[in-house]
């Protein structure tokens, strides 16, 4: 499931932040359930073609938030997430993705009206194309596999 994490190389957003947002989303949405094992720091770094420093930072942050636990010698696992926590985190990834989209619009000098229109169009398209049944809370799995 963590394989669905995708990085945007062209973003000035630090990689650790991009990974953190997506991994957190996978956990709080329940797509990575309690007790699920995460890859080692090296393995994740190799898969995402980023450095072990970045992944280490992500794991440390998520551990501090209580979303994952590292057991010495065995590995890193998804912790139990309480429902309150879950709802707090749920929208974070969405907001961040929206910010990106708005920033992209502003770069090409879209008007507010154009942006609203685009949002409506994209939403409509997504609903029309979505293959049933809809997955819950998946903010950022635009592409499922591929890498």
């Amino acid at each position: 499931m963590w394989m669905s994490i995708q990085l945007n190389e062209y973003s000035a957003e630090p990689l650790y932040h991009q990974i953190e947002v997506q991994l957190r989303a996978l956990i709080v949405s329940g797509q990575l359930g309690e007790g699920a094992m995460l890859p080692s720091i090296r393995e994740m770094a190799q898969h995402l073609k980023c450095s072990a420093i970045t992944i280490r930072r992500v794991y440390q942050d998520l551990e501090a938030e209580g979303l994952i636990v590292t057991r010495q010698g065995t590995g890193t696992f998804v912790a139990k997430v309480d429902p309150e926590e879950r709802s707090r985190h749920r929208l974070e990834a969405v907001i961040s993705a929206m910010r990106e989209a708005v920033a992209a619009g502003m770069r090409v000098q879209c008007s507010d009206e154009e942006m609203r229109e685009l949002f409506e169009t994209v939403l409509r398209e997504a609903k029309e194309n979505r293959s049933p049944p809809a997955q819950t809370g998946s903010a950022d799995n635009g592409k499922e596999d591929e890498g």
Binding site: E9, Y10, A12, R42, A45, Q46, A52, M106
Partner: protein, 312 residues
Amino acid sequence: MNGYGGYAIRMSGVSLKTSHFQLGPLHLEVPAGYVTAIVGPNSSGKSTMFRLMLDLMKPDEGSIEVLGRKIGSGKQVDLLKRVGYLPEEPYRHDNSIRGMDKADFHKFWYPGWDVNYYRELLRVFEVDHSIRLGKMSKGMRRKFDLALALAHHPDLLLLDEPSSGLDPIAWRAMIELLHRYMESGDRTILIATHIVEEVKRLADFIVFMVNGRVLGMYEKDELLTGWHQYHFPGALEHWRGMLADMPGLAGLEDAGGVVRAVTSSAREAEAWLAARELAPAGRKSMELDDILAALVEREKLRRLQGMKGAVQ
């Protein structure tokens, strides 16, 4: 995880002068538990630096510490047992012996020698060790030497241009093996390379080295997300003044009708541009070699300015 935190190698004030080359003074700390890539053009002093670390050459000045041991103070046999070294050029003096004889020699000297792992490495690399080393093709010799450097499970791997002569399949196998080597978390690789893809796949830290000097050490991901270039339509004269204070500005040039501005701090630069409602027509992240070129340019400028300052 005890590997994270300390340093595998520390060099301080190390310098060496030969008739045609000045190395250093070098200050370098290689973090334990990570892969550090030394990137730079040929003859920037990378191989000499490896030799100094292994006590194969003596510096004129400065001190070197490897795995917590001071280099140059008596015999280093115990230390060398914990190091795997792949020199840039294979040793010619053992051209006449077969691979398996050389392996026996390593087995004798390295207590950590793991014959099963050695055999696995030969299998993965498709190396026939019954061939005399001098008769092996360049690629096979490289693979054999790499297997030798790994087979005693060293704590520190020093790799000098490891992929020279490797075909793409062997290259992939090497990358995979090096990732596996790092898996335990307490081992360290120092690798000299000028293959951009190798740095991308392997490195955690990057050290840029030019003309015997270290230009800087960076976290790879920070470096790659930090350096961006923007395109602005219009004339250079128009933008020169406007962008003079852009954060991290590291280059501004006419790129045929558009102006290309390079920054080393993309996030700050973007916030700065947005605050002034300056919208670039295009933006791009940069490749390592472009970043190296920009750093070399900056270093040249700095030196020129330094010389001017000295004259005044």
